[in-house]
């Protein structure tokens, strides 16, 4: 017998119920960190923008400060030489999907959030300009909420 879509679960899938750990919002952007309330400790990031909703597991709460530091480190335009160093990316996933935050090598106020599940389509979100300003403001509220 077929299992209805809403009843299907996978090992390691997020629990149906969570608790709100921290939240921040700015303009049309909202960032929340949720936690499991039963079973092992797990944390999930939820990012919602004007036309996107993302949710993925994070390894620990410390990643919030690391993301803030990574985004705030704007070195200015570098001429677009394509040079890549380890600090040009930040791995932020704690789950099965690979989630990377990449710094653009062309414009200092542009970042890419790349989500690559072990199977399935790749998602790539560009964060730049006003969106970056709002995401940073929302993240600072999340960090404040975690203190």
């Amino acid at each position: 017998m077929a299992i209805p879509r809403e009843r299907r679960t996978k090992a390691g899938a997020p629990p149906r119920e969570l608790g709100l750990t921290a939240i921040g919002s700015s303009g049309p952007w909202e960032i929340a960190v949720d936690e499991s309330t039963s079973g092992p400790n797990r944390w999930f990031a939820q990012i919602e923008g004007p036309s996107i909703y993302l949710r993925f597991e994070i390894a620990s709460l410390e990643i919030v400060e690391e993301i803030l530091e990574f985004l705030a480190r704007s070195a200015g335009e570098n001429g677009g030489h394509g040079h890549e160093s380890p600090s040009d990316s930040l791995a932020i996933s704690g789950g099965k999907s690979e989630v990377l935050l990449l710094r653009d090598d062309e414009f200092s106020d542009r970042f890419f959030l790349v989500i690559q599940p072990s199977k399935g389509p790749l998602t790539r979100l560009t964060i730049a300009g006003d969106d970056l300003t709002h995401v940073l403001a929302a993240l600072r509220q999340v960090a404040e909420d975690l203190r």
Partner: protein, 102 residues
């Protein structure tokens, strides 16, 4: 006045404010609570299991309904789609002032 992070009640009130959930009007959001691993009260969230919002997590109220933010569309401003029975029984639209939208 600045939030006192050591006061759990103030922390939760600030979180509800940050989320933009209505705290007044005829249909205010009244949070359901759970406890984290430290034994602290936290606002409960749950995944919508039915309907077009399936898969999204929202804020659970004392009636077990799940509040999902919805952007302005059609004749409606930004509002909340309050999912009845996990979305199985449809939803009620509530604006940021706690008014029920037709």
């Amino acid at each position: 006045m600045a939030k006192d992070a050591s006061d759990p009640q103030q922390k939760i009130e600030q979180q509800i404010k940050n989320a933009g959930l209505p705290t007044h009007g005829v249909a205010p959001f009244r949070p359901a609570f759970d406890k984290n691993k430290k034994g602290e009260l936290i606002v409960k969230k749950a995944r919508v299991e039915h309907g077009p919002r399936i898969g999204k997590y929202g804020y659970v109220d004392t009636q077990g309904r799940i509040w999902i933010k919805d952007r302005a569309h059609g004749k409606y401003p930004d509002h909340w789609d309050v999912q009845e029975n996990g979305g199985k029984l449809g939803r009620t639209r509530v604006d940021s002032d706690g008014n029920i939208l037709p």
